[in-house]
């Protein structure tokens, strides 16, 4: 009397696949969005030649010669402007520095901005050279733009980490809460389906999608921008796997009691937004004050991103990133244990 169905675990996992693959929006956010983001940021922050420093010279009868000399100096674009307008552009950041001719020469710039400080050095160098300064030590310049040290190289592993977090949280957390509000969890509870198989089906589906979402971004970085893959694929796979498990666990925890989709969305943002900011997706967390570092380093996404960068960019072995993986796994394990204890089926 029994018919072929391949067992409950297979059917539950197929259910997860089908729901995901039949939701075009979900496919976009998981696969297309990170690639588009990488493309946009990769182009925006493409390493260019040395940036031109834009400055203004305050209009004055004696300033014409100075403006011409500065404008012809390499890397400087100098315009002559009336005093008011020059100050106005400085305030708006359209010029980095204003020169007032006279004895002594006056530089007006915002010393808290790196553009201002850069302009001060470049302009002063040009002024002193024109005035006949002799360099006492000979130097030679050698520009470097190796793959592995550009912004796009920094970005790609961060995007992979961000995607692993997002899909884990949304895929597991949102899916479960929707099934709870639709009373589907209760319906499953009334059937002989095992709770453990239901949970496992979420994890298995995550693993299959993980392979595709990680390789999509990695392959895009490699082929479009030449982002290197220096570590072994096995190491990348292990790091990504642990990351995915951890965020599936966090997603489960966030979803374990929420009764509404709105409620769980809020909770997920509460968890994810700090990590978007602090965990070094788009810029290094070293930009944050020193006293925040212990907190930032303890976040699971920080550890995951650091491990991904170490393996992808530096060719680190799994042994070298054991400490980071321990942080990631501890979060995952803790989340699962708590989630399973407090999980609400109806």
């Amino acid at each position: 009397m029994s018919s072929r169905s391949g067992g409950p675990l297979l059917q539950l996992t197929l259910w997860r696949f089908r729901e995901f693959l039949r939701e075009p929006e979900a496919l976009f956010w998981v696969f297309a969005f990170p690639v588009l983001l990488a493309l946009a940021l990769g182009i925006a922050f493409k390493n260019r030649g040395p940036a031109t420093v834009r400055i203004a010279v305050e209009a004055d009868s004696s300033a014409a010669h100075l403006q011409a000399a500065l404008d012809s100096a390499p890397g400087i674009e100098a315009v002559m402007l009336p005093r008011e307008e020059a100050r106005d552009r400085l305030r708006r950041g359209r010029v980095a520095l204003v020169v007032r001719a006279g004895e002594p020469l006056v530089y007006l710039f915002d010393s808290t901005r790196s553009e201002g400080n850069l302009a001060r050095l470049v302009v002063d160098n040009a002024v002193q050279t024109v005035a006949g300064r002799e360099d006492v030590w000979e130097v030679r310049e050698q520009p470097v733009a190796d793959p592995g040290s550009r912004y796009i190289d920094f970005l790609i592993p961060g995007l992979i980490g961000m995607n692993i977090m997002g899909t884990g949280m949304w895929g597991v957390g949102y899916g479960i809460v929707r099934q709870r509000t639709h009373k589907l969890l209760k319906r499953l509870l009334a059937s002989p389906a095992r709770k453990s198989q239901y949970m496992l089906s979420h994890i298995l589906a995550r693993l299959v999608f993980l392979v595709f979402e990680v390789s999509a971004v990695l392959a895009f970085g490699y082929f479009a921008f030449g982002v290197p893959l220096r570590g072994s694929l096995v190491a990348v796979a292990v790091v990504a796997f642990l990351g995915a498990m951890t965020f599936a666990g966090v997603g489960l925890l966030v979803a374990s009691r929420a009764r509404t989709v709105e409620g769980v969305s809020g909770l997920m943002n509460l968890v994810m937004v700090p990590m978007w900011i602090f965990s070094g997706i788009f810029f290094a967390y070293s930009n944050f004050p020193e006293f925040l570092h212990p907190f930032i380093l303890a976040l699971p996404l920080t550890a995951l991103n650091d491990a991904l960068r170490a393996v992808i960019l530096d060719g680190a072995s799994l042994i070298a990133v054991t400490g980071l993986l321990a942080i990631v796994s501890a979060w995952g394990l803790g989340s699962f244990v708590v989630a399973l204890r407090i999980f609400r089926w109806e």
């Binding site: 029994s2 169905s5 259910w15 729901e19 009373k183 009334a190 002989p192």
Partner: protein, 309 residues
């Protein structure tokens, strides 16, 4: 082997200060279709969910197929089928995929095609659930309950919100399961449904059973076969004692400006009523007679209607 499919005694469930189920006793025999009839909020869903082991009773005892949830949950889950109120099956699965999913949970059962035929959903087997009408969704929910060929089927308001045709289709499916020897426990607030499907009906109000028996016996307990409802112009009223004295009149109620008589011999009662009204100089604005139903039983017992529209 006893012939009792469901036994519960002294069931109590509280939600905060609200007593949803108030010491309810119930016995469903094997092979019968047993209905719990009552208005919304009477405690029917809470009761059927406690019987299905989905809610923990605050007090009382439940035995299903001679087993308890504490000792034999896995076996009971294999042997029961259920349709819960307000379950929304996965929107982006097809009908066939949905039934296949539920079939996979059970050791034994029928084939997916067989059960889809049974609920007349064979033609829709490749449609997404999101494309189904309310009646089709409900038939699919019942298919998921029947695919294991359960010993006992629990249906919580199986036809609420459906059009008359969909309702009749579901009634046929339910009757078919009953005819095949299955036991059914259902809840409803439609008296036609209870009369049509159920061998025995428990009328539930405020968490308690207030009447129990076959639909025919319950109606007979009114001591009358027919109901006469009338209203007078200018909202006049006739003294109840005068009405009570008319031939064949068993009971007199007033409800929402109308007077309701339960009568045994409608052919005598109506002419006598007309004569009384003429004598009193009262003019009718409305007069309706119908055979007595479970609705009238509920009204006679509680003074309220089953459906609070």
């Amino acid at each position: 082997m006893s012939n009792v499919a469901v036994m519960c005694g002294g069931l109590v469930k509280r939600y905060g200060s609200v007593l949803a189920v108030d010491g309810l006793d119930l016995e469903v025999r094997k092979g019968e279709c047993f209905g719990m009839l009552g208005p919304n909020g009477a405690g029917k869903t809470t009761t059927i969910e406690m019987i299905q082991g989905l809610l923990e009773p605050d007090a009382g005892e439940v035995r299903v197929l001679d087993l308890t949830w504490n000792s034999h949950e896995r076996e009971l889950r294999q042997r029961m089928g259920t349709q819960l109120q307000e379950t929304r099956l996965p929107e982006r699965l097809t009908v066939r995929e949905t039934v296949t999913l539920f079939r996979s949970f059970y050791r034994e059962g029928c084939s997916v095609d067989e059960v889809l035929d049974k609920v007349a959903m064979g033609e829709k087997s490749n449609s997404w659930v999101s494309k189904l009408s309310g009646g089709q969704r409900q038939r699919l929910a019942v298919a998921c309950a029947l695919v294991s060929i359960p010993d006992i089927l629990f249906l919580d308001e199986p036809t609420t919100g459906l059009d008359p045709q969909s309702r009749r289709q579901l009634w046929e499916i339910i009757s078919g399961f009953r005819a095949g020897g299955g036991t059914i426990l259902l809840t409803t607030h439609y008296m036609e449904e209870a009369e049509r499907l159920c061998d025995r009906v428990a009328i539930v109000d405020r968490g308690k059973i207030i009447a129990l028996g076959s639909p025919r016996n319950l109606i007979a307990s009114l001591g009358a076969d027919d109901v006469v409802e009338f209203a007078l112009e200018d909202a006049k009223m006739i003294d109840h004692s005068l009405l009570q004295a008319l031939p064949g009149v068993q009971q007199v109620h007033s409800d929402d400006g109308k007077t309701i008589l339960t009568v045994t011999r409608v052919h005598q009662a109506v002419p006598a009523l007309m004569e009384l009204l003429t004598r009193r100089g009262a003019a009718l604005s409305e007069l309706v007679t119908h055979h007595a139903t479970l609705e009238d039983v509920f009204l006679a017992l509680t003074g309220r209607h089953l459906r609070d529209e």
